[in-house]
């Protein structure tokens, strides 16, 4: 700037290449920002895809419920006008049964009706067997008389080519709406089987729909249709009034009398929307029934108990970690550095040792034929007959998890206590405080941030623990995470697992936010 001419001194300052200094600094800053982002981008992308996307998927799954409206699209629409009316409603009309008939015929061919059955079985027991039974029965209904009557009337009704010509005609979906819809199902079935539509004889379920379409319209409406095979259709319209009819409602009730029950229809209706709060309601021991939200029966209320137990046991574990970790951290921070580094290894060794090693060690120590019981028996403190039960219960889980999580309490506590100047306590004592007062009024308040950091860390870790409760928890010492794992791998109720996981995640994130407030994410230290 020394060689700046007087004329530029009044204007903006310029950098070496003549651009205003302010602008050139902005450009440099922007370049720096972009470079930093470019360095971060690959990892950010990686974490977003490999970690954040799965979490988002889980959140989505906890409300997703498209299976009902995808498998039974027509039934769901037909049910819209039907009300459950606290179980006093009559079963829905013939229209709904007709819709169900086509939906189930398609689902049975595509082999998806059992999946829907198991999905609805989570809400109302018996649904799974009902759908399996109906899937077997739907092809054997008496509805074949329609096909026979149409074909007797005109053999062209048996010819795939005539059907294709009719169904491809413009405006047919207005004349024969239900038939057209059933025809699209038929097309999807054939595509899934890799069959040619021109060679396969039309399936039975098309004819009842054709019958229903035709009886509904007055003859002149059908006569207005002038596409291919109009004569065949007109002849059929003229004849259908004399056809022998079959009630689909009766056919379904024949297969299983549950189809007359408003409960079943209410459940289908209640879970017909593509998104549902049902899983979340189940996670808090409520239930979405046709009549609205109800409490689960007493015997099935386990989730609140499990959440409560998880929180309670995490508190106990956190408490015992504070109790055991505080003296150690105090000792470490008041010893000369050389000694404390040596003792710190005793804390870090368990920290570095595999979780399964530590869990198996506790299994070895605590079991009834284990080391601790053996020693007690040898010493004569416990009779051989009544050895202590210390594993597969809450006690075992608490002991093992306290041991596993203790380093996570000691390390943050130690790093806080190291920064407390010893002169404060000395000053307090020289002013006449007793040992206890000096500790409680001067030292302890300064160590509280360490307790806070350690407690939240231990609490966050323990409420999501799976392995240790699974191995040493038995039935009374298991956590909510064990239930999540059970729903993923055994009961296959993924939606419920996702909802339970979402609730747990929400709790953890709130705690994480608190932790960030107290300690800061950047200040997490690793020994």
């Amino acid at each position: 700037m020394t060689d700046a001419t007087p004329s530029t001194q009044n204007g903006p300052m310029l950098s070496a290449d003549g651009t205003p200094l302010k602008k050139s600094l902005q450009i440099a800053l922007r370049r720096q920002k972009i470079r930093a982002l470019m360095l971060i981008a690959p990892l950010l992308l990686f974490v977003l895809i490999s970690f954040i996307a799965p979490i988002a998927d889980m959140l989505f799954r906890s409300v997703e419920n498209e299976i009902v409206s995808e498998t039974l699209p027509r039934t769901v629409i037909a049910l819209e006008d039907w009300g459950y009316d606290d179980g006093k409603a009559a079963p829905p009309g013939e229209d709904v049964y007709a819709a169900l008939y086509v939906d189930l015929s398609e689902a049975e061919e595509l082999k998806v009706h059992t999946r829907l059955g198991s999905r609805l079985n989570y809400e109302t027991t018996g649904m799974s067997s009902l759908f399996r039974k109906t899937g077997r029965g739907v092809g054997r209904m008496d509805t074949d008389i329609y096909a026979d009557q149409f074909i007797a009337l005109d053999p062209r009704w048996e010819d795939p080519a005539a059907w294709i010509a009719l169904m491809d005609a413009p405006g047919i979906s207005e004349v024969l709406p239900e038939t057209a819809s059933a025809w699209s199902s038929w097309q999807r079935i054939l595509v899934s089987k890799n069959d040619d539509i021109a060679e396969e004889q039309p399936e039975d379920f098309l004819y009842p729909m054709l019958f229903r379409d035709l009886v509904r319209h007055p003859a002149d409406r059908v006569a207005a249709y002038d596409g291919p095979n109009a004569d065949m259709l007109a002849a059929a319209r003229a004849a259908v009034d004399g056809f022998e009819a079959v009630s689909l409602e009766e056919q379904f009730i024949d297969i299983d009398k549950d189809w007359a029950s408003p409960e079943i229809w209410g459940t289908i209706k209640a879970f017909s929307s593509p998104y549902t709060a049902g899983y979340f309601l189940s996670s808090v021991d409520l239930k979405l029934t046709p009549a609205g939200i109800e409490e689960q029966p007493e015997s099935q209320q386990i989730y609140m108990l499990l959440f409560g137990r998880t929180l309670f046991m995490s508190m106990v574990i956190m408490g015992s970690c504070i109790l055991l970790g505080y003296p150690i951290a105090y000792l470490l921070s008041n010893l000369p550095l050389r000694t404390s580094n040596l003792l710190l290894i005793l804390v870090l060794l368990p920290f570095w040792t595999s979780l399964l090693v530590r869990t198996s060690a506790w299994k070895v120590l605590l079991q009834q034929q284990g080391v601790i019981n053996d020693i007690l028996v040898w010493l004569g403190l416990v009779a051989d007959g009544d050895r202590l039960v210390m594993i597969n219960n809450q006690f075992g889980t608490i002991v093992a998890m306290t041991h596993i999580l203790l380093p996570f309490m000691i390390l943050p506590l130690y790093s806080v206590m190291k920064t407390i100047p010893p002169s404060y306590v000395r000053a307090a004592k020289s002013l006449g405080a007793t040992d206890w007062t000096a500790f409680w009024r001067v030292y302890f308040p300064q160590s509280v941030p360490g307790i806070g950091a350690g407690s939240i860390l231990v609490f966050i870790l323990s409420i999501g623990y799976y392995i240790t409760p699974e191995l040493v928890g038995g039935t009374t010492g298991t956590f909510i995470s064990n239930r999540i794992a059970y729903h993923i791998s055994s009961s296959l109720n993924w939606g419920l697992a996702a909802a339970l996981g979402t609730i747990l995640l929400a709790v953890v994130l709130v705690l994480y936010w608190v932790y960030d407030r107290i300690v800061g994410i950047d200040n997490v230290s690793l020994g």
Partner: protein, 392 residues
């Protein structure tokens, strides 16, 4: 200034009763094991008192005294209960001998100021004792596993043969099983294939991102940091569930690549944390100096920045490695039988067919973790020295 005189220790009124008490404790333990608790109690008290009297009066050298007590009690133990008794007796003798001198020479006051009241001294020693007990709680379970892994029987506890130090009671058969059993070997091979690949991904991407994050101007720094650290905060079971759902959607569930990706994501926070911590002390003027002398950014990175942050990168890598190597929840869900890792095999072993081979594996893993711990500690010191944070 008046010099405080060390208060003398009263042998008869202070040391002897305490030693009798300690002896009584040991005597009671030995007595109950031999079905005569009361006699053991009395004999033990007598032994403790007499020992301390003799040591204090006639053996001024602590080292000789403790050795003598150890040998004496060991011989008595051997006469009473063979080899096991020998060891037990030696331990009791050593403890009693040491305790006697500790009390008699006033060393129990060592950590307290001379003006401390007896109550303060008592509390000081109780506190030390409590801490020792907690350290015992931390270490004992891990240490117990090691001798048990040499058990000759298929038991999870000490057999009488082991307690009497009979060589027959010990064997390497569980280690032999580990090294010959195809299940365990397959699990080991899988672990060895998955962990390094996951570590490589986390370290490369993590180091780059950490360098980016430690630049002075980073937009959305907090949000980005929160996302990158999240795999460490989200409970494993939730990560596992989410990954299971998502990876089965995109066909990665049950594949080697799926497990590696999942483990790499879990290891990333550790790399980010350690490397950013190292970069906090990094002097940015060094890179400017390098650039000033004509080095391009790549040369600057590899010749100037990398050697200085290398300890942090390696210890981050070790953390990522151990995360993957120890991880079991995510692999249980994301992996299939073909990706069964060592921890998975241990998990099923513990849950279903309990075999002491697990203890042999556990011992091997403890040894590995001791090695890793040493390595990380050395790296940390080297890093602090390089950055001039500590004089050592």
């Amino acid at each position: 200034m008046r010099k405080f005189k060390k208060p003398a220790v009263d042998l008869i009124r202070f040391v002897l009763p305490l030693m009798a008490l300690a002896g009584a404790g040991f005597g009671f333990l030995v007595g109950t094991a031999n079905d005569a608790p009361f006699i053991g109690l009395l004999l033990g008290a007598l032994c403790g008192a007499v020992l301390s009297l003799v040591l204090a009066k006639f053996v001024p050298s602590p080292r000789a005294g403790i050795a003598a007590a150890t040998v004496l009690f060991a011989l008595a133990g051997f006469a009473l209960a063979g080899t096991g008794g020998l060891i037990g007796g030696a331990v009791i003798g050593f403890v009693l001998g040491w305790l006697s001198y500790w009390l008699a020479t006033g060393r129990y006051r060592a950590g307290t100021p001379v003006y401390a009241t007896p109550l303060q001294v008592l509390w000081h020693n109780t506190f030390k004792f409590i801490c020792a007990a907690i350290f015992f709680f931390l270490i004992a379970p891990i240490v117990t596993v090691i001798p048990l892994s040499f058990n000759a029987e298929n038991f999870f506890t000490f057999t009488p043969a082991m307690l009497s130090f009979d060589p027959e009671g010990y064997s390497l058969k569980h280690y032999r099983d580990f090294f010959t059993n195809p299940d365990w070997q397959q699990a080991l091979a899988n672990s060895v294939q998955i962990a390094p690949a996951a570590t490589l991904i986390s370290v490369t991407l993590g180091t780059l991102a950490a360098i980016g994050l430690s630049q002075p101007h980073v937009p959305f720094r907090r949000a980005i940091m929160a996302i990158l650290i999240s795999p460490m905060i989200v409970p494993l079971i939730i990560s596992a569930a989410g990954m299971y759902f998502f990876y089965s959607r995109i066909g990665l569930q049950g594949t080697y690549i799926g497990v590696v990706l999942a483990h790499a994501a879990l290891g990333i926070p550790f790399v980010i944390i350690t490397v950013t911590a190292t970069l906090v002390g990094f002097d940015q003027s060094l890179t400017r100096a390098a650039a000033n002398m004509g080095a391009d950014p790549v040369t600057t990175f590899f010749r100037v920045q990398m050697p200085l942050i290398l300890p942090g990168v390696i210890s981050g890598g070790l953390f990522a490695f151990i995360t993957s190597f120890d991880e079991v929840v995510v692999v249980l869900f994301v992996g299939s039988a073909g990706q069964k890792t060592l921890p998975w095999q241990m998990f099923t072993g513990l849950r279903e067919q309990i075999s002491p081979t697990i203890l042999a594996v556990a011992t091997i893993l403890v040894v590995i973790s001791i090695l890793l711990l040493t390595l990380v500690e050395l790296l940390r010191r080297r890093s602090e020295r390089l950055r001039g944070l500590s004089p050592g």
